[in-house]
C-alpha cells in the first residue's frame, strides 16, 4: 500500500499557467490600425527608403558661400574707403553731395578709422576669396563623385 506523496520544502512546484487577461476592444482597434497593410496584398514595409544621399542639400556649403561673398564685399568696401580717406583727409562729408556739408575731421576720421580699414580689409578680402575657392572646391568634388 503506497502512501500519497506531498511536496517538501526543497521540491519546486510547477508554475501554474495563468491565462492572459483579455485585451479590451479599444486596444485591439489601435493595434490593428498601427500596422498598415497594403490593399494589394503585399507584405507591409518597415519604413520608406531614405532619399539618395547625393541629392541632400549641404547647409554648410550655403553658409560657406554666404560668408565668402559677405567677407569679400566687406573687404573691398573697406579698401575703397581707406583709399578715399587717404586721398582727402582734410574734410569729411556729413550730408549728401547736393547740400555739400562738410565738417572738420575728428581723431576717429584721421587716425582710428583709416587704421582699422587698412589693417582689416586686406585680410577680410583674402578670407572671403578663400571661402569662395573652398566652396567651389567642394562643388567640384561633389560633381566628380557623382560622375
Amino acid at each position: 500500500m503506497s502512501e500519497p506523496t506531498h511536496p517538501t520544502l526543497f521540491e519546486k512546484e510547477e508554475p501554474l499557467e495563468v491565462p492572459a487577461p483579455p485585451i479590451p476592444v479599444t486596444e485591439k482597434v489601435e493595434q490593428s490600425e498601427s500596422v498598415t497593410q497594403p490593399e494589394s496584398g503585399e507584405e507591409p514595409r518597415a519604413s520608406e527608403p531614405a532619399p539618395p544621399v547625393a541629392k541632400r542639400r549641404n547647409p554648410w556649403l550655403v553658409v560657406l558661400w554666404v560668408l565668402g561673398i559677405l567677407l569679400t564685399l566687406a573687404g573691398l568696401w573697406g579698401l575703397f574707403q581707406a583709399a578715399e580717406r587717404a586721398m582727402d583727409p582734410a574734410y569729411v562729408l556729413v550730408a549728401g553731395y547736393g547740400s555739400e556739408q562738410y565738417r572738420a575731421p575728428g581723431v576717429e576720421d584721421f587716425y582710428v578709422i583709416p587704421i582699422i580699414l587698412a589693417s582689416l580689409s586686406p585680410w577680410l578680402t583674402a578670407l572671403g576669396i578663400g571661402s569662395i575657392i573652398a566652396a567651389s572646391t567642394v562643388h567640384a568634388v561633389q560633381w566628380s563623385r557623382r560622375g
Partner: protein, 92 residues
C-alpha cells in the same frame, strides 16, 4: 567652430577696448609735443565736445590678429563641415 566664434568675439572685444582706451585718454595741449590737435571725441561719452586735445597716432595692437585668427578658425571649420557632409561622400 565654437572656438572660432569665441576667438572672433574675443578679437572684436580687444579691438573695441583698444579704441575706447585710445579715445578716452587724450593728451593735454602742448606746443612742444608735435602731436596733431583735435576736438575731444564724442564717442567716449564726453559732453564737452569743443575741448581741444591732442592724440598721438593710433596703434591697434593684437586685436586684429586675434580677430583674423578667429575668422580663419571659423571658416576652416565651416569648410571642413561642408567637405565632410554626407552629400559630399561617395555613394556606397
Amino acid at each position: 567652430m565654437l572656438s572660432g566664434v569665441i576667438v572672433t568675439l574675443a578679437g572684436a572685444a580687444v579691438c573695441a577696448v583698444t579704441i575706447y582706451t585710445y579715445l578716452a585718454e587724450p593728451f593735454a595741449l602742448s606746443s612742444t609735443s608735435g602731436l596733431k590737435v583735435f576736438y575731444q571725441s564724442s564717442l567716449v561719452g564726453s559732453d564737452d565736445s569743443n575741448t581741444l586735445v591732442q592724440y598721438e597716432p593710433f596703434v591697434f595692437g593684437a586685436g586684429p590678429a586675434v580677430l583674423i585668427a578667429g575668422l580663419v578658425l571659423l571658416l576652416a571649420s565651416v569648410a571642413l563641415a561642408a567637405a565632410l557632409h554626407p552629400s559630399t561622400r561617395p555613394a556606397d
